[in-house]
């Protein structure tokens, strides 16, 4: 298992054992700012050496997927889960969007396994953050005569911390290219894996408490938080293959589809769908899906990708 995952488990164990271990708020904040910027920069640098015209159609396919996923999750949550429209829509939005850290762990896993992938995929991460959230909000507003102040919402969604940092990093990386960013490698690239480990330690502490919250919230979401990501991963793998990504890239698309946002979506949903109970969406996304993905999910999604490659060679 990748060492970074062990840091996550250390955090979970410490929390479940009621350890006093607590990372300062400012550190959590700093680590997530760093990860968003670093991933953006890395992707931007790679993008700079890509013919945009080749990436554009892929990006388009990715966005389509981002819009479709919540539409699939919503009925499941509504019918099977019997959740209110607001809660179903909010959770659908979380799962329609993506988790940047899950992506980071997945890339680390692939690199460790010596599997190459399209290095500009962080672009897709940035593109996948927003559509799921927007669709989730629309689902919440569906057949309600209350109208939406799209201005305020767009602000919440596009100017949230994660979009600004990931997008900003992408732009700067793309504008400066590998050589321009080079003097910053020391901070943004060489430390990446270690910072990821530290952040996962914190995430372990956080996730462990979220599970506790969720237990009170009933068992449906426990199943949802594991089964739906697997289904979404299959879709993601299919899309990845359809847009012509390598096996590695296809696996990453699976991980992205399977992941649920815990930075951009919660912030936006709290404002856009206040009547939704955040304990449910966060409990599922952080308490169930995130741990499942970084431990068992990612290897599984790689299997999907390799399997697809075998049954359906190019």
């Amino acid at each position: 298992m990748d060492p970074v995952v062990l840091f996550f488990l250390l955090g979970v164990a410490a929390r479940l054992a009621k350890s006093d271990l607590k990372l300062p708020e400012a550190l959590y904040e700093t680590l997530s700012i760093y990860l968003l910027l670093a991933i953006g920069l890395k992707g931007g640098v790679e993008l700079a050496s890509q013919p945009l015209l080749q990436v554009a159609p892929q990006a388009f396919g990715v966005i389509i997927m981002g819009c479709a996923l919540p539409l699939l999750a919503f009925p499941i949550l509504r019918r099977l889960g019997g959740l209110s429209q607001a809660n179903a829509a909010s959770i659908a939005g979380h799962y329609g969007s993506v988790s940047v850290v899950t992506f980071a762990v997945a890339s680390a896993y692939l690199s460790k396994s010596g599997i190459i992938f399209e290095s500009y995929i962080p672009l897709f991460v940035a593109l996948l953050e927003v559509p799921g959230i927007v669709v989730g909000i629309l689902l919440a507003r569906m057949n309600q005569n209350r109208d939406i102040s799209w201005g305020a919402l767009a602000h919440e969604i596009f100017l949230g911390k994660s979009v600004v940092l990931l997008g900003g990093g992408l732009l700067i990386g793309w504008a400066c290219g590998a050589q321009g960013i080079n003097p910053m490698r020391g901070l943004f690239f060489d430390l990446f894996k270690g910072v990821l480990a530290l952040f996962l330690l914190e995430m372990g502490l956080v996730a462990a408490s979220r599970i506790a919250d969720l237990r009170r919230a009933g068992t449906f979401l426990l199943g949802f938080g594991i089964i739906v990501p697997i289904l979404f991963a299959m879709i993601g793998v299919g899309v990845g293959r359809a847009i012509g990504l390598s096996v590695g890239g296809t696996a990453l698309m699976g991980a992205l589809a399977a992941s649920a946002s815990y930075i951009a979506a919660p912030a936006a949903m709290r404002i856009a769908i206040p009547e939704a109970n955040p304990t449910l969406s966060i409990g599922a996304a952080l308490g169930i899906t995130f741990p499942f993905n970084i431990t068992l999910g990612i290897p599984l999604y790689l299997h999907f990708a390799t399997w697809l490659e075998q049954v359906l060679p190019r």
């Binding site: 919250d213 912030a267 955040p278």
Partner: protein, 100 residues
């Protein structure tokens, strides 16, 4: 020393509300506000400030009884249904009444 009676309205709630509260109070006649980061627990469970969605703030507004009550009512109607919020009012005395 002459002092003047005012009210202090304290609003404790999710950090997500901060910018909205700052925006909302002015029209009711508040001349200022003070915010601090807090953690805590209540009916909606514990909010330990261990990640973004879990942070709370405490805002205090010194103003006239009338303004305090109108803000409190506004917050009650607009936010308390969907957000974790605790409010209370208290009597305070100030030296510069025109300031509040």
């Amino acid at each position: 020393m002459q002092t003047f009676d005012k009210k202090i309205l304290v609003i404790i709630g999710e950090s997500a509300l901060e910018k909205f509260l700052v925006r909302d109070i002015k029209p009711f006649g508040a001349h200022g506000y003070t915010v601090m980061d807090v953690r805590g627990g209540g009916e909606h469970g514990t909010r330990e400030a261990d990640w973004e969605g879990n942070r709370s703030i405490r805002m205090e507004v010194i103003c006239t009884t009338d303004v305090a009550e109108r803000i409190a009512e506004h917050v009650l109607n607009k936010y308390c249904a969907n957000f974790s919020v605790t409010m209370f009012l208290a009597d305070v005395s100030v030296l510069r009444p025109e300031k509040f």
